[in-house]
Symmetry: C2
Subunit: 221 residues, 2 copies
DNA sequence: CATCAAAATGAGTGATTACTCACTTTTTAT
DNA sequence: ATAAAAAGTGAGTAATCACTCATTTTGATG
């Protein structure tokens, strides 16, 4: 089985700037992802990145003008990827030709985001750690993810609400509730990684929690 | 109205080590909380902490042997506080003489944790940012919070499950689901702080989401 | 093989880092 | 009032930081 990070980096290397990267340049990126994830941006030394990549320190600065440029070259395309396949590949078909049930929609979202997180834990970790310290990063993240994704999802939520599948709450609130449940699942599974985690059980419980939490209420005594 | 951080620091200053702190020492702590929250541990310079506190840099190292000691002196008592009032003040009465309804219990937890977060945003921010980089911190956090708190909460969950108030899921799963919903509420409210946030509406929606997500299912159709 | 531009190098730069220590000031005890 | 202890100081230190640059290596082209 192929290392998912490997796969992601390859795509990044091929597509980035049109031209292909040199061997050393890709090793710099790989090492930078490692060290940033381990020590955070401030705690990561360019000397260590160079050492782990097996290149001279000067080589880093031949390709990236500053250390911050190096960070952005890793995180920026990831932010784009965070939404692009999500919105375009999964959401558009769901909007244009939505899944008949809210349950089917939720299961689809869960599967998709779990697969995405599985592939990109390290870069996600970097993003979560550095966003608080880099206003430009936060701005880019919010303007892309928040504005574009939320608007799209809001449409979908409205659709199911109109169909009477889910309860009457502001769509943004619904997104927050589902989002935090999904996020909690991902954090516990990938960052805490508890022993004896029965994934199919946990996943099913999570789906049921979301469905019952949002589905139209049946008044009972 | 009094600054909540002020209040927390005062308690910390009085109780810490039994003896009272000097004026300069408390100003060092205050400044350290500021700078750590703004720049993270690695990004924070002791020179800047000294400057903001209005003391000489040497004074910091008279009271704290290393920069890491300074961080721990802020975070460690907070971790204790994270559980102490939570477990003892709120949970024990709920276990010994539990709230008759699951709904009442959830509302109580929500109120309590919201108030706590409101008081301690800055230190929470430091804790969230630094836990990934300090294994000792993570260990302490997990051994105290995870083990002790989770065990206590598990009992409460079991209680409501036996009473038939909530659905049949593993107690730890229930804690994860409620926890992530509560956590999501806190993050969105305090860290994102969206404009036009209708708190009473959001809070009620969150409670309803949790209650319906976990309450015993009524088979329909 | 010769040419040349891009890639790579690593010693060197000044700035900044956490931390020390000899010394002065303030507080406490008698 | 005086001595002892504790608190505070700031110049100084070695280490490390991100980054530069003159020089060498590499790889493609004629």
């Amino acid at each position: 089985m192929k290392d998912p990070l490997e796969q992601w980096l390859e795509e990044l290397l091929e597509k980035h700037e049109g031209e292909r990267m040199t061997d050393k340049q890709s090793r710099i990126l790989r090492a930078a992802v490692e060290v940033f994830a381990e020590k955070g941006y401030s705690g990561a030394a360019t000397s260590e990145i160079a050492q782990r990549a097996g290149v001279a320190e000067g080589t880093i600065f031949r390709h990236y003008r500053t250390k911050k440029d190096l960070l952005y070259s890793i995180v920026a395309p990831f932010v784009a990827r965070l939404i692009e396949p999500f919105v375009l590949r999964d959401l558009y078909p769901l909007i244009d030709n939505p899944h008949p049930t809210f349950e089917g929609f939720i299961r689809g979202i869960l599967d998709n985001r779990i697969a995405f997180a599985e592939k990109n834990i390290k870069v996600i970790r970097i993003l979560l750690q550095e966003v608080p310290f880099h206003p430009e990063l936060r701005e880019q993240f919010l303007s892309k993810v928040a504005d574009r994704v939320l608007r799209k999802i809001t449409n979908v939520v409205n659709h199911y609400r109109e169909q009477g599948h889910i309860v009457e709450v502001p769509p943004l609130t619904a997104v927050r509730l589902v989002g935090s449940t999904l996020f909690g699942y991902l954090i516990v599974r990938f960052l805490f990684a508890p022993t004896g985690w029965d994934d199919s059980l946990e996943r099913e419980a999570t789906v049921q929690y979301i469905l019952h939490g949002l589905s139209s209420r049946i008044e009972a005594k």
